[in-house]
């Protein structure tokens, strides 16, 4: 599926030529992918990346993740390489080194697209000088997404290439008929209270954490029993003083929003005073409203 491609006129788009493999090479490669019974040397090729991927590759060969226990070894020359790891979004000037490294490595060789940029072009996919992914010019065997992929993700990708682990992610097409309704979050909390609390919590402690805190706060609101007692319990149960502080502020915001019957009456009186100035006799309709509100 190519819905990500913008329909530009053909003459404006450069179409890179992709390298096609011989039948014999394909066969040898398939055998290699199933089980490599020796240690593999990898050659790393940066095609215009931000170097985040390189740092993570370096982290992968440190003692904590130790890729060398699988026999994976970094080599400085493509002539010794079994696996070529391409990082970066493939910029126009870097296509030549990419092809030189590819042709320099002996057949059969595996190609790994590393990082979001290597897989699809990543965040640079619509840049004018970027070809968007290693597979535009080279036959890729394993895609390792991530920005950058963590050492664990890298090891998983290599383990897949070496036939140690299987693939987990699969293409999914779901069709919803619209019969299942989306659940309203915290349906018992009034809409304005919910949005105000969410906004304030995000102002206090950031967009992501603020959301979590306001969710926790509203769960306490929805619990059975007295609202303010529940909130006080929640605040008392917090071991993190920062969290307790945010909850205390949210409680203050909630207290501001609560209107007591006395306040309501005072507001009504104030509004009526504006409608009927002092000393004037109110008309029949206003008198009816006043009587309804219990104001003489």
């Amino acid at each position: 599926m190519t819905i990500v491609d913008r329909p530009l006129p053909d003459r404006l788009q450069y179409k890179p030529e992709k390298i096609e493999l011989d039948e014999s090479v394909k066969k040898a490669k398939a055998a290699l992918l199933n089980d490599i019974k020796r240690s593999v040397y990898i050659y790393r090729c940066d095609l215009g990346g931000c170097n985040g991927c390189e740092i993570e590759i370096f982290a992968t060969i440190t003692p904590v993740f130790d890729a060398e226990r699988f026999g994976i070894k970094n080599t400085p020359s493509p002539r010794h390489a079994d696996i070529l790891v391409y990082t970066g979004a493939v910029t126009r000037p870097m296509r030549v080194p990419a092809l030189r490294a590819y042709h320099g490595a002996p057949d059969p060789k595996l190609v790994i697209s590393y990082g979001a940029c290597g897989c699809t072009g990543g965040i640079f996919h619509d840049n004018y000088c970027v070809w968007g992914g290693t597979d535009r010019i080279l036959p890729v065997d394993v895609y390792i997404p991530g920005c950058p992929p963590t050492p664990a993700q890298t090891i998983y990708g290599f383990a897949m290439a070496l036939g140690l682990l299987g693939q987990k992610l699969h293409h999914k097409d779901i069709v919803e008929d619209g019969s299942v309704k989306a659940q309203l979050r915290f349906a018992d909390v009034p809409y304005k209270v919910r949005t105000t609390l969410e906004r304030e919590a995000r102002l206090y402690s950031g967009y992501r954490i603020g959301q979590d805190l306001s969710d926790e706060f509203m769960e306490a609101l929805e619990r059975d029993g007295s609202v303010f007692a529940n909130i006080n319990d929640l605040i008392a149960a917090q071991s993190d003083s920062r969290k307790a502080e945010v909850f205390r502020k949210l409680r203050g915001d909630l207290e501001d929003m609560v209107v007591t019957p006395e306040q309501q009456e005072a507001q009504l009186k104030k509004g009526l005073e504006r409608v009927v100035p002092h000393g004037d006799q109110p008309d029949a309709t206003t008198q009816a409203i006043l009587r309804g509100a219990g104001v003489q």
Binding site: I3, V4, Y143, R185
Partner: protein, 208 residues
Amino acid sequence: MFKPIKEMMRVGNATTKYPFAPLERPEGARGKPEHDSANCIACAACAVACPPNAIQMVVDPKGGTIMWFINYGRCIFCGRCEEVCPTKCIKLSREFELAVMDKNDLEETCTYPLQKCSQCGKYFASAKEVAYAGDILEQQAENDEEAKRARELLSVCPTCKQKADAYRAKRRVDTVGDPTPDPTPEQMDEARKQADKNKAERRKEARF
């Protein structure tokens, strides 16, 4: 000679057991964005927020469907989609084993129906989004009548609403008269004079 061996025993093995044993990732580690298709209302907030356009929406106005599409190969795991989702149906999980052999496996789609306008019969928004907005309006409504009216108006497309407003305004002009009539030539002259005067005064102020 035993000193280094002793030291080794003390420090122990620092290397993780992964991939031979599952890896424990810490709380808040950013992994694959999990999409809960049942709770999604196809509002496209995530598609707007997504910096690398890993999430996109594809509308088919003839077939009456809207498709949510994600490419995990383009995702940068920033979590913006999670932040903006009104129903919290998209969450970054701790799942990190995303490598694939076939690029097609990185893609996921979810198709939802569109809502038809009750007046003109054209598709105008995701049906689930309209239903969700209805739920919120119902929650806010003061009585049943108001809620019912809000529900009825929801299935009318913006174009039809604009048309209805225009017709109403025209009817008012025809029956009551124009609330904002065009100025007469005398009024225009007066306004022009006033503007010139203001301009001259401003110039005077600027000079001193």
